[in-house]
Amino acid sequence: MRRLVYVLPLVLVALLGVAFYFQLGTDTQKLPSALIDKPLPIFNLPPIEGDGVVLANSDLAGKVALINVWASWCPPCRIEHPVLMGIAASGVAIYGVNYKDKPDDAKRFLTQLGNPFIAVGADRDGKLAIDLGVYGYPETFIVDANGIIRYRHAGPINKVDWEQTLLPIVKKLQAR
């Protein structure tokens, strides 16, 4: 009986270990987007500088595309940029949403680092970002041919994210 007391701590540690192990798989930090499997919000964005409409829902119709929300003042966007250049070079369509930026800064950013986007719309008042539920920059959405949001990636995309997570989703949607 007395010996059992000395074994008790070992048993408790083992039980706690198992409990923790099962909890590890679930990510308490992950915020699932409420927009998954919902249509894109309606939008008509002007160009980085000037008036008119360069990016609207109709531009995305009929193809699987990425929408990347970025800004020149956001350092992770700079880190992510080379990956976007690579994605664009591989033939996947990326549309840019330039969030609350100064036109000159945004243009300089694209001239210096290259422009991976088919078109860039300026979200000057941040309204689209609110509609999309963006809470940090950059964020990227995968939209299918019917304009339905299928995936959301918060934070910069790195090579591994692209190859292991996003690209398979894009391929699957393209195959439909």
Binding site: R3, P9, V13, F20, F22, T28, P76
Partner: protein, 648 residues
């Protein structure tokens, strides 16, 4: 190039730790002095190599080498130098490297200052330290390499979270880790004793200074963290029962219990298996803290990026380390029966109550911290356990402990006369009663509970001073007191002062939240605050809104406060910088909030009574630990004679 050098040094350190963990253990078993000599040499070399690696990473931060992914993600050229340096450990990889550095520092310290230990015990302790070193170094190298390169290197980095750009927080992690990781030494002593199958008075005396050092650093680290929360988070609170705060508080409670049970093991040859158990538990709770912060299983304000691979590794490390120790405990523990007989009314009886309360307190905090996790596992929904639970459970437990804590030093070992001890403390009781009733009668808004809290603090303080007087009697006697006794007196008195601060700042905090236009005045706790103006100012890497409050008291100018609301250039995150004017009786605390668009601003002004007593009390406790540590008795070779003296 320097980064590659650091990476190489770290790899070499892992190899050295592996040798240190294995061969000397074999040597101690076979009494092979050649193999045993590898342990101290390995500990020294491991420290030198990890220090080189740490230096290499710090260099990369100082020169802003953004080709290192770690530096690019956590630093920025526009950051002040202090935060570039502190940025070294302000991120996951760097903080783990700091953990390894401190672990190897303690190993080297045991090798250097452990001259009075028996050779086999010292070698076994160092071997266990080597095993822990293997675990943490492998973790860093395989899952969290701080020297990973980024190609191409970005123009500039992403900067450190501005909330963390603060001098208090720059030194919070190193102090906390000196405490957390210091408990690894007590753990290694416990495991080594289990291997040897021998726990005696000499062992108990050896383990105590290491525990004391870790406890002192842990106290300092927790205090600094709490102080940071107080002035940086901007609403005058200083403890939130956040999972990560609890993670640092639980090892503190266990270490406090360990300090006291080691005295009983030394003086009375009792509570031996219990002392070993506490040494393992204290370090296990430290590791649990690391696991909780790093793995993201619990959400917390201290969130670092969570990564499941790392989580699995730390969990494995935790379970293997603690599980192996407890397996050894299950095997060898029952043989560690003490010889000391236990009388309920005696010094050791009082220390047993202390241990019981501290352990139950740590267990109930553990339960509260992990409860949401268990519910989540059982799919019973997501809940969070907040401050009300912890306050309701923790505070009532502390009351009897504090009452007895004042009496315990007056009791003799073996068998004591409790009645006589209490009678001898009549003056302390009188002081406490006068203070308590005085507050209850004469201070507005004094609840009975708050008056009682202050009375308990007064009781503990007065009794501690009285005990010092009965020991010393004269000024000369005071000087002759051994430093360990001074340490005890300081730690107990410091706690009394801190408790007065905690009670008063919780019970009598005054707050005033309003919208003020420049020129307006508000009165709080007898001080008139006039918002004289609000202007835009520019800092090294932030822009700020700075308010000027002219404070008057009794019609006379008293002080001027300049709270700020900062927006950092990188990341655009706003932070509040409270302006605080400490006085003996309380802090004047002002915060400036958002503009309302019509030229007015949200202001929050607090009067936090006695809040400075908390930091002062904690500081006295830390100094007490230092005082004890400097006592000659910890540097002498303990002999069997010493324990005889204790029985006399």
């Amino acid at each position: 190039m320097i980064a590659e050098f650091g990476h190489f040094a770290l790899t070499l350190a892992l190899a050295v730790a592996f040798v240190q963990a294995t061969l000397p253990l074999l040597g101690a078993h076979r009494r092979d002095t050649g193999l045993m000599a590898l342990a101290p040499a390995g500990a020294m070399l491991q420290f030198a190599l990890v220090a080189l690696a740490f230096g290499a990473l710090m260099h990369a931060y100082i020169v802003s080498d953004f080709s290192l992914a770690n530096v690019a993600q956590n630093s920025h050229t526009a950051k002040p130098m202090l935060y570039k340096v502190a940025g070294t450990w302000g991120n996951h990889e760097g903080s783990m490297l700091l953990w390894a550095l401190i672990l190897s520092l303690y190993g080297a310290a045991v090798a250097a200052f452990g001259g009075n230990l028996t050779e086999t015990l010292k070698v076994r302790v160092l071997s266990i330290q080597g095993m822990i070193g293997c675990g943490i170094l492998a973790f860093i190298l395989f899952t969290s390499n701080p020297f990973a390169r980024l190609d191409p290197a970005p123009f500039d980095g992403q900067s450190l979270n501005p909330l963390l750009q603060d001098p208090g927080l720059a030194f919070h992690p190193p102090l906390l880790y000196l405490g957390y990781v210091g408990l690894s030494t007590s753990f290694s002593f416990a495991v080594a004793a289990l291997i040897e199958g021998k726990v005696d008075a000499v062992w108990a005396r050896w383990v105590r200074p290491w525990t004391l050092a870790a406890w002192g650093f842990l106290t300092a680290g927790i205090t600094l963290g709490s102080w940071w929360a107080y002035y940086e988070l901007g609403w005058g609170g200083w403890w939130f029962w956040d999972p990560v705060e609890n993670a640092s508080f639980m090892p503190w409670l266990a270490a406090t219990a360990l300090l006291h049970s080691a005295i009983v093991a030394e003086k009375r040859d009792a509570l031996k298996a219990w002392t070993i158990f506490l040494a393992i538990v204290a370090f296990a709770l430290s590791l649990l803290g690391t696991f909780l912060v790093r793995s993201g299983v619990l959400t917390s304000v201290h969130a670092f990026a969570s990564d499941p691979t790392r989580g699995v590794y730390i969990l494995l490390f935790l379970v293997v380390t603690v599980g192996a120790a407890f397996a050894l405990f299950a095997w060898r523990g029952p043989a560690l029966a003490g010889t000391g007989r236990f009388e309920p009314v005696s010094r050791e009886g009082a220390l047993l109550i202390n241990n019981f309360v501290l352990t139950v307190a740590a267990a109930s905090i553990l339960l509260g911290t992990l409860y949401p996790l268990f519910l989540d596992i059982l799919n019973a929904g997501k809940v969070s356990v907040g401050a009300p639970y912890f306050q309701r459970v923790f505070i009532p437990m502390m009351i009897p402990m504090l009452l007895i804590m004042a009496i315990a030093p007056m009791l003799t070992w073996r068998r004591a006369d409790a009645g006589a001890a209490i009678v001898s403390l009549k003056w302390a009781g009188l002081v406490a009663a006068i203070v308590g009733f005085g507050i209850w009668l004469f201070i507005n808004r004094a609840s009975a509970l708050a008056a009682f809290g202050i009375a308990i603090a007064a009781w503990l303080f007065a009794a501690t001073m009285w005990e010092l007087y009965t020991r010393a009697r004269t000024w000369r006697g005071l000087l002759r007191q051994p430093r360990v006794s001074w340490g005890m007196t300081m730690a107990h008195a410091g706690l009394a002062i801190a408790i007065a601060g905690m009670t008063a700042s919780t019970a009598w905090k005054v707050e005033d939240i309003r919208v003020m236009a420049p020129g307006e005045t508000t009165e709080i706790a007898g001080y008139q605050f006039t918002l004289s103006n609000v202007s835009d100012v520019r800092g090294p890497n932030y822009a700020a809104l700075r308010a000027t409050f002219n404070v008057r008291r009794n019609g006379q100018a008293y002080t001027t406060l300049y709270p700020e609301k900062r927006i950092y250039d990188v990341g655009r995150q706003p932070t509040t910088e409270a302006a605080i004017r400490p006085t003996i009786w309380g802090d004047l605390y002002a915060v400036i909030g958002d503009a309302d668009g019509n030229g007015s601003y949200v202001t929050r002004i607090y009067f936090n009574p006695l809040v400075g007593w908390m930091w002062t009390g904690a500081l006295i406790m830390v100094l007490g630990a230092g005082m004890s540590l400097s006592d000659r008795r910890y540097r002498q070779v303990a002999t069997a004679d010493d324990t005889v003296e204790a029985h006399a």
